[in-house]
Amino acid sequence: MILGRIIPYALVGAVSGYLFFTATQIEFHRRAGTLGPDVWPKLVLALLIATCLYEIVRIVLVRGRRGGAAGVLQEMVEESEAKLGGGFVYAGARSPWTLAAGIALTALYVWVIQQLGFFLATAAYVFAFIALGGYRRWGVNAAVSLIGTTLMMFFFMKVVYVSLPLGQGPFAQFTFWLMRLMGIR
């Protein structure tokens, strides 16, 4: 219990300690009488480490109980909800595997977008994302993925003039064909 609550602060503190060490290695030509570019990050890191240490000590002293000083809004929400109820609640049970798959899918999408081009990668991603989210009406899913991606591509390439990834090899040929079809030059 105590260990579980300490870990995030210990982790942030340790990373901050390493970054503080990195900040001491910043190379620059020191000018007499002026502060260097390392001062501000060191100041921020020192405050970050101090806050983490404070929180770790506090958790140890109160034996893992919650209840440090909270933001004013947090206290108001807690007081009001205790009195009157309400607030947003997630209805579904937690599913870490869905989350992991979602993050992996998003990373895969970013990875393949330059190879497949915007249209193919995005349409496939949206379809897979919706399916992963538990939506099982395949026809609607396919239509939403294709129509939405087409509209987005048209808007960004034709109206906003953003140069979206075209893809490579045959995928680029497909994108060019699609662009011609949409009247995008």
Partner: protein, 501 residues
């Protein structure tokens, strides 16, 4: 004064130009939709709209985003009142009296009170904004770097101490944001800081990437973990709006006045925003209102207090943004981003160089509030139907807009990787109760804070006491310290009271 009125009149003419008017209407409708959907927050909506404004004229772009900001503080009330689902955190206080009033069979009246409250709060705040902006800009022109640093320090202190979550977590989140802002090549010395030999990090991490990732993707990941399942909606017979009579409204004019004033003041504080305004206004009404003992039983005061404050906070938040270039909330930070993307730096000089744009935006808030009320009155029943749309499909397009927004800003795939990273960071923050707003405000205000701190040190021979010895910066620094210490004192006082109860 005459000059201000003349410029405002020109602003109204600009707003009524077809392109600007279209941007306004689109912004209002998008803001209302975003506010209705529980999966999309107001800030997230404004973030997602930003890439669509890249090719627009600067005035139309700012009008669209500001209109979203205004109407986003209003429509979430509909779902709170009708379905007990707050579209935004802003709307949680509306559950207590708004939903209760609806359950008593007066849903139309509850919606009417919300509409009037949003209209009154929005218009009064817009008037105050127009009256105060120019004088504040003139005062801001006399400020030097210590005063600017003090204001930013105050903003950072208030975002940590007013927000949700524990104070320690908020501070950690804030310091992490300030640290992220230091990544890249330092402007003064050209030194590489935390770049670890990665070339793309030399350009620094754009705050829009952090915002889009942490607010947009982070929230989607959070919902994905719950497989996009929200509580089922309650059925309602009809969605109509019944306006209160003038006599009913004037009976609670004190609530309107308190809510509006508080909303403007909270909006002015950098780092606070509509959610704090809404909760604080409800809390004050419950503590000092004429019918405080009835709060929570479905009385109009419980609807008017949070709603007037939430909408009024928009006008307040625009003042530090336009006059000093300091965004007070997540939404104004994105509006600042839009200004910068179009090559316009908000600040005191903007009233000299681009006053027509500023006054067009001001005028658009007046027109926007009126338009929002009209759309709300006539189209609420159609707009709430968006709730029937599967959340997973909306979320898929949110991710796509996040990725497109990040990519379109610099045409750089590394930015897209960064938003995925910050999406995971945003999820972890939510999961372990580290508030995201301080992180984002830290990234936005970090460079400004550092520049003003370092310039002050150079100008005043490294004498850091200068922040406390100059009258204006000293007063603001004292206020900032009080803001930081207040939650700790409040916590100690509550703990001291515990054994007695």
């Amino acid at each position: 004064m005459d000059g201000v009125l003349a410029q405002l009149a020109n602003g109204f003419v600009d707003v009524l130009a077809p392109a600007n008017l279209l941007a306004l209407v689109v912004g209002l409708v998008l803001g209302l939709l975003v506010a209705v959907l529980p999966g999309l927050t107001l800030v997230m909506g404004v973030v997602l709209a930003l890439p669509f404004t890249y090719s627009m004229d600067v005035t139309a772009a700012i009008i669209l985003l500001t209109a979203m900001y205004v109407s986003g503080t209003y429509a979430g009330a509909w779902t709170s009142i009708l379905f007990r689902v707050p579209g935004e955190p802003i709307d949680v206080p509306l559950l207590w009296d708004g939903y209760t009033m609806a359950r008593k069979g007066h849903a139309a009246k509850a919606l009417g009170w919300t509409l009037v409250a949003a209209g009154v709060g929005g218009l009064c705040a817009a008037t105050v904004m127009v009256l105060l902006a120019h004088p504040v800009a003139r005062i801001a022109l006399t400020f030097s770097t210590p005063e600017y640093f003090a204001i930013i320090f105050f903003g950072l202190a208030s975002v940590a101490s007013l927000g949700g979550g524990s104070l320690a977590n908020a501070l950690i989140s804030l310091f992490a944001g300030l640290l992220i802002a230091t990544v890249g090549v330092d402007d003064t010395y050209g030194a590489h800081r935390f770049t670890f030999g990665v070339r793309i990090l030399s350009d620094g991490i754009d705050y829009l990437v952090v915002m889009v990732g942490a607010f947009g993707l982070g929230e989607v990941f959070m919902r994905m973990e719950h497989r996009f399942k929200s509580a089922p909606l309650e059925s309602v017979d009809t969605v109509s709006t019944q306006l209160p009579s003038l006599r009913e409204a004037s009976a609670i004019k004190g609530t309107f006045a308190r809510g509006t004033l508080l909303g403007i003041l909270i909006g002015l504080v950098p780092g606070a925003g509509a959610t704090v305004a809404s909760f604080l206004s409800y809390g004050i009404e419950a503590q000092y209102g004429r019918r405080r003992e009835l709060m929570g039983s479905g009385i109009p005061e419980g609807i008017v207090a949070p709603q007037t404050a939430a909408t009024a906070s928009v006008g307040g938040a625009m003042i530090p943004l336009v006059t000093m270039g300091i965004p007070g909330s997540g939404a104004t930070a994105i509006i600042l981003g839009a200004f910068l993307l179009h090559g316009l730096q908000p600040g005191p000089q903007v009233f000299e160089t681009s006053s027509h744009i500023v006054y067009a935006v001001f005028a658009s808030i007046f027109v926007g509030v009126i338009g929002m009320c009209l759309i709300g009155y006539f189209a609420a029943r159609y707009l709430v139907r968006v709730l029937e749309f599967p959340e997973v499909i909306v979320s898929a397009y949110v991710v796509m807009c996040c990725i497109l927004g990040a990519f379109a800003a610099r045409n750089n795939i590394t930015d897209v990787w960064l938003i995925v990273v910050f999406g995971v960071v945003g999820y972890l923050c939510e999961r372990f109760r580290f508030p995201i707003a301080p992180l984002v405000l830290g990234v936005i205000l970090g460079p400004l804070a550092e520049t003003n701190f370092m310039t002050t040190m150079i100008s005043f021979n490294n004498d850091w006491m200068v922040f406390f010895t100059r009258p204006i910066s000293g007063a603001i620094m004292a206020l900032a310290i009080v803001t930081l210490v207040y939650p700790v004192l409040r916590h100690l006082r509550r703990r001291a009271r515990l054994p007695a109860t």
